[in-house]
Symmetry: C2
Subunit: 334 residues, 2 copies
Amino acid sequence: MNDKVMLAHGSGGKLSHELIEKAFLPVLGNPLLDRLDDSAVFELEGRLALTTDSYVVNPIFFPGGDIGRLAVCGTVNDLAMCGATPLYLSLALVIEEGLPMEELRRVTASVKKTADEAGVSIVTGDTKVVERGSADRIFINTAGIGRIPQNVNISGANARPGDKVILSGSIGEHGIAVMSQREGLRFSVPVESDCAPLNHLVEEMLAASARINCMRDPTRGGLASTLNEIAGQSGAGIRIEEEKIAVKEAVGAACELLGFDPLYVANEGKLIAVVPPEDAEKVVAAMRRRRYGQEAAIIGEVVADHPGQVVMTTRLGASRIVDMLTGELLPRIC
Amino acid sequence: MNDKVMLAHGSGGKLSHELIEKAFLPVLGNPLLDRLDDSAVFELEGRLALTTDSYVVNPIFFPGGDIGRLAVCGTVNDLAMCGATPLYLSLALVIEEGLPMEELRRVTASVKKTADEAGVSIVTGDTKVVERGSADRIFINTAGIGRIPQNVNISGANARPGDKVILSGSIGEHGIAVMSQREGLRFSVPVESDCAPLNHLVEEMLAASARINCMRDPTRGGLASTLNEIAGQSGAGIRIEEEKIAVKEAVGAACELLGFDPLYVANEGKLIAVVPPEDAEKVVAAMRRRRYGQEAAIIGEVVADHPGQVVMTTRLGASRIVDMLTGELLPRIC
């Protein structure tokens, strides 16, 4: 096989088929994908969730992950945030002519490994190749479908005053890991992306409480923007406490150096849950039993005051309005 | 609103939300999309089809269509080719910084118009923005989900010797339309892309016969590559007759000028169906009742000879092996 991806790999002709048969099927293959019809076909019923995201992260390999792991985690997590059990993913690649085949192999292997961790299958796909300079190495789109258990009803609109706000762990790692790789920054303690599939964590949470009102993963725009989305959708206010929000020392130091506020830095393996007070401790305890929820903590609550706004009690005891991200902090973070 | 797309429109922050609320929801909005949760949630059951395609066509506006119409038609058609009724689409945009907002509006309006024609809804989406020079204007990914009626069992693997091969109309228009726009070529009779949603045509076909074995739309790689796929998947041979394959005069002339064989030029509104001989005329008659099937004709048959190969009887009565596309004819045709 050629050692670089060529335009003809996206032609729909012989080289496209060779790529599918030599690079994709041996790694990603399963009975649904192997049929190679225009669509994957499967039986499913109930309340389903459908989501999509494109991934344009630069660089495509970074400490703690790569664009392949990101593309699976991001979509698995978007399904999980609706309480859905992720089942099937599509995988669509836009590749810049000249991408080393070895890099495509590494990305494909990472997609497979992450899909296995999450327990999902890649069932359909597409590959396009564009001329050198018309894209940056590789962009990936995944769409995903999952099934929502009957008693689950989760939406950003469901936050109610009195509910507790739970955060699954420390913030800012993904953004700082990608940024440091991109800019060639070295920190004494390297920062790794938190990029992880959260669906098994969510299963544990749903088993612990049937009353989780909202879940969302604070990716682009960070914790601050995601909390503002929930406040906006539900029309409730949110108050968080700065001292309850974990930020790893190395992330804090990097943010200080770069002039970033960790509240706005992207995460790819964290979630926020909004849960009635009676169930909050139960949910936190359940989360702490799972690898990706060991540092789960209640960081604040939904309030009747300042509807639609997020306010933070700072370490010094002052109140500060935490707005949605304005402008662009870190382009191409995911 | 700004008159160009900026990096901050992909930040996940304020400008991202403004873009969604001002540019997307007023045009594409529906009860499922309007919730703005991480996934769209709907009830569905049965045999489902899931498909995805990314669209990188250059230029993004061409005679007879644009990247928005293409992105809806391509995915609707991939679902329809499995016999599925297309229902819900995702829409994910990768935009190059600086794209005129007016062009984004035109593309979005075209997505909406085409989705309405096909009877599908855009239920979830994503927007990423990359720096100038890291993508070419706009790339679109759509994934789609549809439901397959109970008695339908369509696959490229199902072609059987004796089956008739039906083609829904003349070939090569999409490829030539895009090519002529890209290269600034003028023909005495302008060629328009055939880009169209074929799902209503397929409904009519399925109502006429419960025994359609394969359907596929000959896009990238053209009629020749698609027939080779069916021959490859089913292990049967296919014989077609050159004189039965309609090529519009302007397309034929353009192909001659450019040195292309219309058998390899992309279509975006045509389909091939493989049907047992008893039902073939019935299916053709049904197709001719619909706008996008008026020129449907039987162009050949599945044979026991030359398994896995496509052979064409030329106008002069000779036999010619029609191979899958080798190399790349027209990059970024879809």
